[in-house]
Amino acid sequence: MKKLSKSAAAKGVLKREDLGRLPGMPSEKRLKKGPVAIIECADEFPCNPCEAACPEQAIRIGEDITNLPVLDEDKCTGCGVCISACPGLAIFVVDLTYSQKEAVVRIPHEFLPIPGKGEVVKCLNREGKIITEGGVVKVINPKRNDRTPVIWVAVPREFAQDVRAIRVSDTG
């Protein structure tokens, strides 16, 4: 993998410019086609549940489980099973085709309260800054997710690659 930005190396927090260097990042072209997984995993540590979870075999890590996950963007259907399977909560699904103005970002959210459909939540970027508001489109929390609910938030399209967390109330 190519070198990450200084901030990513020192603080583990990816910048937008780092994303292109990750083998788990889909191309612009693929993003425009519909929902797809964004694997923001830049640490070479032993971990492979995402590979095992993907029903389409679209994530490959291989024999050496310290390899970074590689996304096969053609196979990925954007189903989002990998979101809650990732122990590092580093996988998101972005759907740029949600509407003309809005994209949907699917975010793992292990906090209380869990927002309801239609609720407006604050949206935060990777640095924890509130950058916009978003409407909750869907909340997915089946048993398989093992207490990692996935929240679908509709946000203005330009924020789709920045929104990575939500805040439901001021205390949350």
Partner: protein, 96 residues
């Protein structure tokens, strides 16, 4: 502060309430929880004062290793409160 609801651990299951006495103050505690947890839930954080310099001490490791949280429990000093479970009517004092 008790964590009544938790995103992973869920709702706190109902537990039997017992009464303990901390230097004359009667406190409610859950049966089977360590003394240190019960005191923390009631906002008590000074568990003892050191012998020579009279400095306050509280919980540090919470697993019985460090002995910072020892108190006089039912008259017995040096009791590790993080691993000693509460019993109804237990009398607890700060140690000096």
């Amino acid at each position: 502060m008790r964590i009544l609801e938790h995103p992973i651990l869920g709702k706190m299951p109902p537990r039997k309430v017992v009464k303990i006495e901390m230097e004359g103050r009667v406190l409610e505690a859950f049966e089977g929880e360590p003394i240190a947890a019960a005191l923390t839930a009631h906002g008590i954080c000074v568990f003892r004062y050191t012998r020579v310099r009279k400095e306050p001490r509280g919980i540090s490791c919470a697993i019985g290793q460090c002995t910072d949280c020892v108190m006089v429990v039912n008259g017995i000093p040096n009791t590790r409160t993080c691993v000693t479970r509460v019993e109804d009517g237990m009398k607890i004092q700060r140690q000096e």
